[in-house]
Symmetry: C2
Subunit: 256 residues, 2 copies
């Protein structure tokens, strides 16, 4: 078992590579079929779900560590990534889980840096669902998307971390543009609106939404319209990256 060898090494010698006591957990949001999704792992430990996570190399920027973890789970580079909170309750111990896990793979030891206390840096990421190739890490047997409205049970405080991430994303939506990292190159106005509604968890007025989002200047209407719909064909739009980034810095205002 190559995996088991790697794992044993990780438990016994990981502290030579990684910073002790610090982990990174990523809440990866994707948007698909009018639904906001989050990428979760299925642990080999007991089948419950966990946020993709990892550790920080001894000479690695913490943001780079998060990027690396994301790349490993999604295959994507250059992802929108945001640090949102540090979870530092001494009670959030991973010791039991890790001890049980080691027992499962037949390693006997009561000394491992993984038994120590960890504080975890929470990041959230926005990715283009269609471009992601989910792949589990070596302590997981699956890596799958879940609707944020139908979340399975999660280990430790991962549900709490997710909740905080969503709240932060909603906050961010209130005064920064969102969408560039969640949608494809071109999209229709109803599609963009659906994204906003899904994140915010409420309906918005179609006409007011259009007026407001166009007023920001972050969109450019294309000549092309969507084909094959049994009603008036909506225009495609794309993001005007110059203005989008400007709006990211400056901050906009609320959506209803």
């Amino acid at each position: 078992m190559k995996f088991d060898k790697e794992l044993k090494d990780h438990y016994l010698k990981g502290h030579e590579k990684f910073l002790r006591h610090i982990s990174v957990d990523c809440v990866i949001f994707g948007f698909h079929q009018s639904d906001l999704k989050v990428l979760l792992l299925k642990t080999k430990y007991d089948g419950r779900r966990a946020l993709p996570g990892g550790f920080i190399l001894k000479n690695e920027h913490i943001d780079a560590a998060a990027q690396r973890i994301l790349k490993e789970r999604t295959g994507l580079d250059e992802i929108f990534l945001q640090q949102f909170h540090v979870f530092g309750n001494p009670g959030r111990s991973t010791k039991k889980i890790n001890q049980q896990f080691l027992k499962n793979i037949g390693v006997k030891t009561n000394k491992s840096w993984m038994f120590d206390r960890f504080i975890t840096l929470g990041y959230y990421a926005l990715v283009d669902f269609t471009k992601v190739t989910p792949s589990p890490d070596n302590i997981s047997e699956a890596c799958e998307w879940f609707s944020i409205y139908e979340l399975p049970e999660m280990i430790l405080d991962h549900r709490h971390i997710f909740d905080e991430a969503l709240e932060n994303l909603r906050m961010q939506l209130n005064f920064h543009p969102v969408g560039y990292n969640l949608l494809g190159k071109k999209f229709t106005m109803p599609e963009l609106q659906k994204l906003y509604e899904t994140i915010l968890g409420k309906k918005l007025d179609r006409r007011n939404f259009q007026r407001k989002i166009l007023a920001t200047g972050i969109l450019k209407r294309l000549e092309e319209t969507k084909k094959g719909v049994a009603h008036k064909a909506p225009f495609y739009y794309k993001f005007e990256l110059r203005n989008y980034k400007k709006a990211l810095k400056a901050g906009m205002h609320y959506f209803e």
Copy 2:
């Protein structure tokens, strides 16, 4: 030298008490004489200034660690405290400074947890200036207030940390009430306005400010007026703590 003994212990055995690789830095804001101030230490190392900081006990909540550090520098309990960013650049090394420092107090060693890389958790705090008794830690020779508009040179990336803290405070001001932790029990409207202007770094219209802040319902006007001013006496106000906390949770809107 009792201090030196303690220090030597800290360098050689601190890792038995504290989490490795993790520090906490606090940006402590106070308001005095129409000026926003920040509390800084003067290092024994080279006289440059530093943010009050410290480490996390092995079984301590990270927020509790920040509270403890604040208590040690200001004498105050129950302070408004907010985690705002983690600084995790591997380049932000404290090794040189710490080596030099040890040499200065006559300790010869090239092994100390303090030579390792540190990531630092940034917190900012709002305190009542008049209630603070500044006291330096054992690597500092002074603990003093500075106007945020006349900051001295600071070690490492502490200036950068300060800048981020101020930006976060200003953001916070945009949709949460601020003042309860920075002003005394009672204050006049011009005093409160001055606080907002100082934090935001710009003038606000006196009449609109009053209308808006009163509309939030977080203030209660007292019967008492300020005595001894050579013009119309302004009323005193106090915070209506119920509504203040409600507004903290719900979020308000912008100030111009």
